[in-house]
Symmetry: C2
Subunit: 264 residues, 2 copies
Amino acid sequence: MAVRAIDTAKPMATSNDDGLITLDELRSRLRAVGEERYHHKHPFHLMMHEGRLSRGQLQAWALNRYYYQSIIPIKDSIILSRGPDPAFRRAWRKRVIDHDGDVHSEGGIKRWLKLAEATGLDPKEVRAGKGTLPATRFAVNEYLNMVRSRSLLEAVASSLTELFSRDLISLRMEKLRQHYPWLAGGLDYFQVRLTQAPEDAQFAVAFVHENAKTRVEQELAIQALRDKCDILWAQLDALYFAYVEPGWPPPGAFCIKVKEEEKA
Amino acid sequence: MAVRAIDTAKPMATSNDDGLITLDELRSRLRAVGEERYHHKHPFHLMMHEGRLSRGQLQAWALNRYYYQSIIPIKDSIILSRGPDPAFRRAWRKRVIDHDGDVHSEGGIKRWLKLAEATGLDPKEVRAGKGTLPATRFAVNEYLNMVRSRSLLEAVASSLTELFSRDLISLRMEKLRQHYPWLAGGLDYFQVRLTQAPEDAQFAVAFVHENAKTRVEQELAIQALRDKCDILWAQLDALYFAYVEPGWPPPGAFCIKVKEEEKA
C-alpha cells in the first residue's frame, strides 16, 4: 500500500495507512479514557478508601450498587442476543453465568447480596430494591439503552471498564478490610472479580481490535467506553449528593437509619 | 350492583363497587403526588426564585433543560405511534406541533433556545448539547424508556406533571423578572406554556379516567406520574450537585465561565 500524506487533522500520529490505530495504540487510548473518567477517582470512593464513610453510607452504596449488579447479566443477555456468531456467544455467555451462577457457583448477584447483608441490610429488602435512588436506576438503565441501540462493537466496548477494575478492586479490598473490619465477611464478590474481570477485558479488547474495521468504528468504540465511565460516575454522584453532601435523598429514597456513633 | 363488604386493605375509602376511584378522587390522588414529589419544592428552584442563582448557574440550567425540551416531541411521537385511535392521535399531535412549531409558530424548542441565549449561551452550542450533564441525559432518556415500555395509559399519565406546571411557571416568570431582569427577553417559552400545559393536562386526566378500567390500572397510572416526578427531580439534583454544592461537574461537563461578579 502506498504511503499517503499524513492528514494532520487526524488525532493520532501513529495511525497506519487506513487511519486505523494499532492494537497497542488502541490499548493506550482506552487506558487514557480510564485515567480521565473511570470512577476510581470519584470522591465517594476516595472517602471509602480513607475510611471516612459511615456504616449508613456504605449501606446506601451497597443498596444502590445492587441495582447495577442485578442488571449486568440482563445487559450481557442483550449482547448475547445480538451476537450472530456461535463462538462469540459461547465466549460471552460466561459473563451471564458469572453473575447468575450455576450448579458450581452461587454467582455475583448473590455475592453482592452477602456484601449488602454484611453492611447490616436485609438482603430481601435489597433484592426488592425499595429506596434505590431514581438517579441510580436512570444511569443503570442507560447501560441497557446503550447495548440495545448501538452497534455490537460499541456494546462490547462498553464493557471495557473491566480493564481498570482489577486495580480498583485490589485497593478497595485492602482498604475495606483495614477501615471496616466488620465488612470482611462480605468481600467474596470482589475476590472472584479479581480474576473474572481481567479475562473478560482481554477478550473484549481483542474483539474490538478485530471488529473495528475503520478508524471511525475505533473512535465509536472508544466513545462507548467513555459513555460507560459516565454511567459509573453518575451513580457515585447520586450517592454523594443524597448521603454525603448536601445529604438530600430525593422523596421516597433510602434514609440512613444507623446511629452516627456506628461510624467506622 | 350489590354493595359489597368494604375491603379494608384497599387504600381509599371512596372507591366504588369495583374498587375504581372516582374522577374527583383520581384528581385528588394525582394532586397528592405533585405535593410530595413535583420539583416545585426542589432547592435549586427555591434558590432560583429567591434570586440566589448566578448567571453561570442559570446557564447550566438552561443548557441541561434544553436536552429535556428537545426530547419532549420525540416522547410525544412515541405516544402518537402507540395510540390506535385516530381521534386520540389527532388530539395528541398538538403536543408535537407545540414543541416543534409550524408555519404559525416557532415552537417550544426554539423558544427555549431563546431563553438559553438570554442567559449568555450560544444557541448553536446549546443545540449541539456539548457539556450537558450525563445525569441529565440518563434521567431524560428514562422518560423515553417509560413511554416505550409501559402501557399507553401509563405513557399518557406520565405527562400529568402538566397539572402542576401552571402554578410553577407563573411563580417562576414573576421571580425571574424580579431577580434576573436581563432574562426578561427570553421568557416567551413560559408565557406560551401557561395556556398549553393546562389544556394538555385536562385531556390527559380525562383519558386516564376513561381508560383505566380497573383499580390496578388506576394505581399504575398514579405510579407513572410519581416516576415522572422523579425524572424531573433527578435533573435538578444533578444541576445542584454539579453547579451549587459541592459544585463538582463530572469529567467533560459544562463549566461555569462567567465571572462571579456577574452574579445576579
